[in-house]
């Protein structure tokens, strides 16, 4: 089997990257920040204690799958999606689509992407890659986190698509089936932004949005009680940097990508005030970046006493304050 002609491009995030890449290859000219913004990707949630996480953690984007679903709903795009109980059937179906020259985005456990360095690979069931061909026992993969097309052994892809655990992929895949000729971007941008403001300001869940950032700021001083030892705590504190920067955010926990969305949206909507808001979001992102670098530094130096954690908490509270003001202004500008 050959590789489908496919323009591979790195992207900030795996799901918005896979969706953007599939749409671009299907002929729709849309940027990753627009996909992210229209689908209300910007988010925050803090999880202090959960069965599936070995340590407190947080997320900076909406629920996996929401980017595709929200975008489809708001732009009138139709994605064909399937899930499988039987791995054989799931792999066979994928092969059938590749024979028909259809590139397919599949949900996988990131851990089995063995073309990535070992230190990057963790068990997380919500990574998205695009399969663009098969050569012998290997699949040809377009992964937003890798500079080129890569090969992945069939056995690894199968394990990754059918891994168990929290948010198990169950062989899930999707590809665009219908893209409308005329798209009303203005309406979609406003709707996506309104929903993002709701998530950040109003959603009545104490660990989500601005309330979630404040909970994180409050609870970070309790992190030592979860750690096996100082090195474990250092590792977890440094993971703040990974979650905000390296784990596919475009920098500063998606805030830089959201600033880019607002800049592009201000032109589409003809709203110069959104250009000002985009600058403000870029500055907010700079503050998140400072948090990332601070976390990496105190982790590396093992400066993990209460005073340092309180300092980190204060920095987080600072982000909560500026984001609350920002999202109120954004909401009022819609």
């Amino acid at each position: 089997m050959n590789t489908i002609p496919y323009k591979h491009k790195m992207a900030a995030h795996c799901e918005s990257g896979a969706v953007t890449s599939l749409l671009n290859n299907a002929g729709l000219d849309i940027s990753e920040p627009l996909v992210f913004g229209i689908s209300s990707g910007i988010f925050f949630a803090y999880f202090h204690k959960m069965k599936s996480f070995a340590f407190p953690t947080f997320i900076v984007r909406n629920k996996p799958g929401s980017i595709r679903n929200n975008l489809a709903k708001r732009l009138g795009i139709k994605f064909h999606a399937e899930k499988f109980n039987n791995p054989e059937e799931g792999m066979k179906r994928l092969d059938e689509l590749l024979v028909k020259n259809i590139p397919v985005a599949v949900q996988v456990d990131f851990f089995y992407m063995d073309y990535l360095p070992e230190w990057e690979r963790v068990h997380i069931n919500v990574h998205f890659i695009v399969v663009v061909g098969k050569s012998g026992s290997k699949y040809i993969i377009s992964d937003s986190y890798f500079p080129n097309l890569v090969e992945l052994e069939s056995a690894s892809l199968r394990k990754a698509r059918f891994a168990g655990g929290n948010m198990s992929p169950k062989g899930f895949f999707f590809y665009p089936e219908y893209i409308p000729k005329e798209i009303d971007y203005k309406k979609a941008i406003l709707k996506g932004t309104k929903k993002a403001c709701f998530y950040m300001l109003k959603i009545p869940i104490p660990f989500v949005g601005i309330k979630g950032i404040r909970m994180f700021a409050r609870k970070i001083v309790e992190w030592p009680t979860f750690a096996r030892d100082t090195e474990h705590l250092s590792h977890e504190i440094m993971k703040i940097n990974i979650l905000l920067e390296d784990q596919g955010t475009g920098g500063a926990g998606f805030r830089f990508m959201y600033a880019t969305f607002l800049q592009q949206a201000s032109v589409i909507l003809g709203k110069p005030e959104w250009s000002e808001l985009s600058k403000e979001m870029m500055e907010i992102g700079d503050g998140w970046r400072e948090i990332s670098l601070f976390a990496a530094r105190i982790g590396k130096n093992r400066e993990l006493g209460l005073d340092r954690l309180k300092e980190l908490g204060n920095m987080l509270n600072g982000r909560a304050d500026v984001e609350e003001r920002f999202f109120r202004r954004l909401k009022n500008s819609i």
């Binding site: 900030a12 390296d246 475009g250």
Partner: protein, 140 residues
């Protein structure tokens, strides 16, 4: 973030970062990971210490090799149970050294698949090397 501040030379791990270009436009650039460039050695040091500490616990008969890999791979008991398709109560037992020898080969294979290793690889950590004996004896 200005483009010059976001440019990091780290070919081992490339990422996309959205930055402000000189003309004021925000655009993506392909750059390197700040963390990998500056702190990979620290990550590797901590990982080595964790491996040594867990191996020592295995060799002293405090925990089983399943526990060793579960902690290394940052999995919870609940996640491991769900991924391997083995009841939580059984997994809890399998984490103890005392029950490890009674685990059937097929069950070991289920765990090995989750850890992406072979069963012989899993058992390798039960082999004492001279370095291990030194570590165990000195308690370092």
């Amino acid at each position: 973030m200005k483009e010059k501040d976001g440019t990091i030379d780290c070919p081992q791990q490339q990422v996309i970062l959205f930055v402000e270009k000189e003309d004021g436009k925000y655009e993506p650039i392909q750059t390197g990971s700040y963390l990998t460039k500056n702190f990979l050695d620290d990550y590797e040091l901590k990982r080595r210490h964790l491996e040594e500490s867990l191996k020592k616990q295995v060799l002293l008969g405090k925990v089983s090799p399943i526990y060793y890999f579960m902690i290394l791979e940052d999995l919870t008991l609940s996640e491991l149970s769900s991924r391997a398709g083995i009841r939580k109560g059984k997994v809890r037992k399998h984490l103890e050294a005392a029950h490890f020898n009674a685990i059937p080969q097929e069950t070991l294979q289920l765990y090995a698949d989750v850890f992406n290793i072979t069963v012989p690889d899993m058992l390798k950590i039960l082999v004492v090397t001279s370095a291990d004996s030194t570590n165990t004896n000195t308690g370092s």
